[in-house]
Amino acid sequence: MEEVSGGILDMIGKLMTKSSRREKRRDVHLGDRIFYYSLKASAWTLVFVLLLMFGLILQMAWPAFQHFGWRFLVTNEWNSVTSEFGALALIYGTVVSSLIALVLAVPMSIGVALFLNELAPRWLSTPLGFFVEMLAAIPSIVYGLWGLFVLAPFLRTYVQPPLVDHLGFLRLFEGPPLGVGMMAAGVILAIMIMPTITAICREVFRAIPQSNREAALGLGATRWEMLKLAVLRSSQAGMLGATILGLGRALGETMAVTMVIGNNPDIKVSLMASAQTMASILANQYAEADSPLHLSALTAVGLALFLVSLTINGIARFVVWRVNRKYVRGH
């Protein structure tokens, strides 16, 4: 989704510049021309498929929007018996579980990337980096199983009771320690997005010229000061980009979250309560949605998920662009 939406923006941008200064292609050879047009067709097919999907989802979701109007996005009653459908709790669940994932995964990933690139000797960083990347290859459902049978009981027994005892007054940690719920979903998402963020951060750090590091060391920086000065400061935009890609993955992640979040479409401040995300409710209820309105409401949730990730991506791209302009190009 991330890649596709970016591609479209780029393409629109190209089309707009193209119309202002038309460059004439001069492929004399027939083969080149066929090649050019077939690739062009593929590129446009992609756009077409995306628009088609969007249109179809919009069409299917329309009855729900017509029936509930804006209430669909701002109420959190989700009841198939009374046919009351409001997606607020689902949006809340998606956003909060993704935020928990980012809070846990971003510092950890940056730390891992710094260690692997800047501190660890090569004999250690190569295999360790490989293991981190392997985490990305584990199927979502396997994460879900692990989350259900290992992570949730672990949280229930060892993590949540002390949190309730000591930090219960924060309201974030109140209620019975169930194991499954928002916290479990956030933790499992964090593990799932860590390899992505780590891998991109490593690329970003690798792109920094060695002479920046030497400049810092040459001024008498300790290793940590050098990392701050020469590496972290100049990678802000890159690290933000990595975070966004991680967020993109967390927002849409379905299977593992469905298995550990408890599937209760309700807004609770406590992170230990069960919740529901936009993706997980689709996985949960699609097969058994019997009324047309229920089906339409689910499709509308899908559309909302599509729009939420599009908006977040848009904001994030804007931020990256701003940071880039401020720090790298320097004006």
Partner: protein, 267 residues
């Protein structure tokens, strides 16, 4: 005057004259023997040019003087280097502290991205634990004036260092090194990435700077070496072939290899 007092006076006098002493220095990259037993002494307030063909070990040599060479994986150093009488490879010598007293300017201008012009110059002071605003302001202005950059940047100190032109960036890097008032500054081909006008500005600067700082400069440009330096050291294949007064090296070299190189017959 008691004897030990006299010894100390003598040491201080020596210190004023001989700022840097290198004795039988060897450096390796893995198996590659890059610097082979180089010894040389530098007097305070001089500019010493290091010349020689690419790969002759001159850059490696100056990177041993602020212990930066050892940061490269697989690199190794042997020998004795004293700066102001202090053995920088001695037991208990802390490379981080040593680098605070030996400034370095690199081949390509490398201001820290994300830091303003002011912050770039103040960075060394801050690393040294100075945080008082008035001291920072004062030292940054002094360093920028010394680097002949003050007039050009005084109205835009908050702008990023990377917004300056290449030549200005390099003078910013010189100011960054000067801010902590190091007794010695190492320059590794500081003008090789710059245009002739920026190069001339930096050469002029060196004449001013040597009143207060001792400078070791690696250069591939023979004219530059003869213009800016008091002494010249000629390196070849990791060895120091000849070291002497610049005027003598360029007009009447003692070794045939030196003459062949400076007249452009190889390298």
């Amino acid at each position: 005057m008691p004897a030990d007092n006299f010894e100390r006076e003598k040491a201080i006098v020596n210190l004023q004259h001989e700022i840097l002493n290198v004795d039988n220095l060897h450096a390796w990259f893995g198996d590659f023997h890059a610097v082979k037993g180089v010894s040389l002494a530098v007097q305070q307030g001089q500019v010493v040019a290091l010349i020689g063909p690419s790969g002759c070990g001159k850059s490696t040599f100056i990177r041993c003087i602020n212990r930066l060479h050892e940061e490269v994986p697989g690199a190794r150093v042997q020998g004795r280097v004293t700066i102001g009488g202090q053995d920088i490879y001695g037991r208990g010598a802390d490379p981080v502290r040593i680098r605070r007293y030996v400034g370095m300017v690199f081949q390509k201008p490398n201001p820290f991205p994300g830091l303003s012009i002011f912050e770039n110059v103040a960075v060394g002071l801050k690393l040294g634990g100075i945080s008082k605003r008035t001291v920072l302001d004062e030292q940054v202005e002094r360093a920028l004036r010394q680097a002949a950059l003050w007039e050009e940047v005084k109205d835009k100190l908050r702008q990023p260092g990377t917004s300056l032109s290449g030549g200005q960036q390099q003078r910013l890097c010189i100011a960054r090194a000067l801010a902590v008032e190091p007794p010695v500054i190492l320059m590794d081909e500081p003008t090789s990435a710059l245009d002739p006008i920026s190069t001339a500005k930096i050469e002029d600067l060196l004449h001013e700077l040597k009143k207060s700082v001792t400078i070791l400069i690696v250069t591939h440009n023979m004219q530059q070496a003869s213009r800016v330096s008091d002494k010249t050291a000629f390196f070849l294949l990791g060895e120091l072939i000849e070291y002497g007064e610049t005027s003598q090296i360029f007009t009447n070299p003692a070794r045939p290899k030196t003459e062949e190189y400076i007249t452009g017959r190889f390298g």
